[in-house]
Subunit: 501 residues, 2 copies
């Protein structure tokens, strides 16, 4: 009927994907756990629109220098540019600027939802992905930053990760600024200083990918990569670069936070910013100790700087320490799956008034991929519905009664709605991971009975059975009075839940 040439090709835009039941079930479970942790810490939900005005979003993407770069933008009816949100922090700043007087202060909110980035897609890199953010707006207290680390520690353990599977790394931008002060760089307040410091920051942020040699190049004249692209460097001399590398590689000292803080105090010399940053890290360390969160979970690591320009104080990151096999078949540590930091100037963009804030995010899709790739995500497929098979199409109303009774008892159940005989129906039930199928033909109806097949038991035997009589002889199948349909089905479902020895 349809003209072939005018048929649309069924496909999704580049970097987008469909998610099906098993992945969705696993993600929902993860999100439920994360939400429960956030709520236990007193964060309340917020939902902002998918679309924001582009000037509201600002230009804070790490990879983009232009307002429309990296985002999905279009013109609204009023000709102003609107775009899909690329994170949940810019919308939060907008909400606080717009509705602050109606909100509790501090405002502690969480938001879980998709964000969209018009970046180059790749294996495991999508243009639409979920973020789970929690932020506290309206407090300068380091207790809020310490809490971000504690939220992480609780959330990742609640997600089933063991101590040692992940490490929360905390650092402070002020310490880096102090080190840059003592290395003789121009201050952040000078335009050239700000640009140079941002280049240094982004160089350090690449240490996991490029290693210390690559970072040294980016701190100096610049770096030529394998593809021939040249990235200009920060233009530091060798002594400056080495001073910074000594800082970056100060390491986590086996989780001895106090030792790292002491070493940093040496490195920042008399820099006021640097001393302030070290004091902040020491406060966070003390509060973590009070909460019983030790160096096996949270380390102070000068190598963590985060790529975003807007962080002003503590920054945090969660890395998974176990190795996975990547798309190219190589074993490698999975790396960072969560991060955040303090951004005391972001709300000021709108209001002109400083409103200190801190917060962090969990990238649940990346985390799910990591847990799945490392075998840490159990086979989380939910059991499917009981399938009431249709042996005699003239008895549809009778089958409908059965399915209604099962549902009324809280048992997920469906009537087989496709075509084909019992064999096809059992195959369908297998694909749906049905625990039990219900079978009733003329004989059963005459005797007031119904047959139930335990699909879990049955799956092993299915292959070599040819006919319906064969089915009926299997031990996985029982025939009971019609009145016992619900009770016997429930019994078989319960039996399937107990793992066989």
């Amino acid at each position: 009927m349809t003209d072939t040439s005018s048929r649309p090709v069924p496909r999704v835009p580049r970097g987008f994907r469909d998610l099906f039941a098993p992945d969705l079930a696993a993600r929902r479970r993860m999100i439920d756990v994360i939400r429960q942790v956030y709520e236990r810490f007193g964060f309340e939900p917020l939902e902002t629109p998918a679309m924001e005005y582009v000037d509201v979003l600002g230009k804070f993407l790490p990879e983009s220098e232009t307002p429309e770069g990296g985002i999905f933008a279009m013109r609204d009816d009023d000709r102003e540019w609107i775009a899909l949100r690329y994170d949940l922090t810019a919308p939060l700043s907008r909400v606080v600027s717009q509705s602050g007087a109606d909100l509790p202060s501090p405002f502690r909110r969480y938001q879980i939802g998709p964000v969209w980035r018009r970046e180059k897609p790749g294996p495991g890199r999508f243009r639409e992905f979920y973020q789970c953010d929690f932020d506290t707006v309206g407090t300068a207290s380091m207790a809020a930053d310490a809490e971000a680390c504690i939220v992480y520690a609780d959330a990742f353990r609640a997600l089933g990760l063991k101590t040692g599977d992940f490490r929360i790394r905390v650092n402070d931008r002020k310490v880096l600024n102090g080190v840059l002060d003592t290395a003789g760089l121009a201050p952040d307040s000078a335009p050239a200083g700000a640009a140079q410091r941002l280049t240094v920051l982004r160089a350090i942020d690449k240490i996991d990918r490029l290693g210390p040699a690559g970072v040294r190049e980016l701190l100096g004249k610049g770096r030529l990569d394998e593809s021939g692209d040249f990235t200009p460097g920060a233009g530091l001399d060798q002594a400056q670069a080495e001073r910074i590398m000594a800082y970056v590689e100060g390491g986590d000292r086996g989780g001895d936070r106090a030792a790292v803080c002491a070493a940093l105090r040496e490195l920042v010399g008399q820099s006021p910013a640097g001393l302030e940053g070290v004091a902040e890290l020491e406060t966070i360390h003390a509060l973590l100790d009070a909460a019983g969160v030790g160096g096996e979970l949270v380390v102070v690591d000068p190598g963590v700087v985060r790529g975003l320009a807007y962080y002003t104080g503590p920054v945090f990151e969660v890395e998974l320490t176990f190795e996975i096999v990547d798309e190219e078949g190589k074993r490698r540590p999975f790396g960072s799956v969560a991060g955040g930091g303090r951004y005391d100037d972001l709300v000021e963009r709108f209001t002109g008034t400083k409103i200190p804030a801190t917060g962090a995010s969990i990238g649940v899709d990346r985390l799910q991929a990591a847990l799945s790739a490392s075998g840490r995500l159990a086979d989380t497929r939910d059991a499917g519905p009981v399938v009431v098979t249709v042996f005699d199409k003239g008895r549809l109303a009778d089958y409908q009664r059965m399915v209604t009774e099962l549902r009324a008892a809280g048992i997920a159940a469906e009537l087989y709605l496709g075509s084909g005989g019992l064999k096809k129906q059992f195959k369908y039930a297998d694909r749906r991971a049905s625990p039990v199928t219900v079978i009733a033909g003329g004989d059963e109806f005459d005797r007031g009975e119904v047959s139930l097949k335990d699909m879990a038991l049955g799956r092993a035997l299915t292959a070599d059975v040819k006919d319906r009589d064969g089915w009926l002889k299997q031990p996985a199948q029982v025939t009971v009075p019609r009145s016992e349909l619900v009770a016997k089905t429930r019994e078989l479902i319960e039996r399937a839940r107990v793992p066989s020895p």
Copy 2:
């Protein structure tokens, strides 16, 4: 610091909105209920991207004749048009065309998520709203259509609506086509016939808004509305129009589905399409009876046609029958909050092969607005977190220990992170709907004690208390040994849950 003139104005695009904790808590509860019902019926989750190619979405919006009308569209990197999905049915058709071989057949999926429509926003009409869809693809069986009605009946009752608060109305497009056949209209297969029949359909769909007189005008020459806009009519003569009005106003006959079916059988005469439609309604009626779903819940109503062109058979709609006070202060029935139907030709657009399908949707935002406006949505605000107040900033680590203990016991708790004295902290706790606040100053620490304030009890007395000593004398406040912090807090929370007589 920021240049005032360059400050963005914090605002959201027209037709978008922020949602805060109380609304989100209510919506989440509703969605959880709906999802449980869908899963009990054997539907499994699917999540498609926010963005689709425009040719994949097609042009099935009721109000729009052009591909870009009514949708938020932009060009992708490959210069092809992409847009935010405007419903969840077009993406489902795309998924089945693209991945059908990997899916169970029939494919029973639900999807809950936002859709975006670039239509004129108004009170209660947003450009971003949630839909909760469930569909069965790959079955021509009327059992699937009957089930859609049963899902509705179960879902709306599970949401707390009483029989009589809502009515599920079912009809069949084939019956309407049969009536149009007998009235002498050109067949659907003729281009002019299809256009005329669509005009008739849209006229009937407006009966709730325009009344019978308005529909009569639209069936005839056309209608001039109050603003002076003229809508061209279907051009039927009076006898044809009256025949159709007799059909439309055939009514639900107090829920006597068999009687309505019998009357429809008369009206369609010898029209094959009409007779097929009546037989479908009779099958649905019988299956509803088998499921114990009577005329008090589901009626056959010829007035229901649904505005979308793509429906091919049964169509359903849920209307709320109670009155609400609208934006203009008028009492009126709230109207339709859910609907759907059979669309046997939609997948064929992609594949050229007919894959019969049926499904329906619940508009959860509209439903929430209706329940809220009619007082049927209980005050669903969740209790907030326990707030550990900060009396002595030097004791932050001690307060951190308290909040950690409470959380470890599963109690939502937070450390007060703002500035200001106890009074301000209590005010904050009130805004957060905290059940209990924890207070500890020098005296408490010296004696190894902690004070707890029952905020629910305390709220009544707050106004005339001036100082901290005053607080401590109130009966709503108790002082207990520090070791009993968790147990006593839990006791006070439990007490607050029991409504006072």
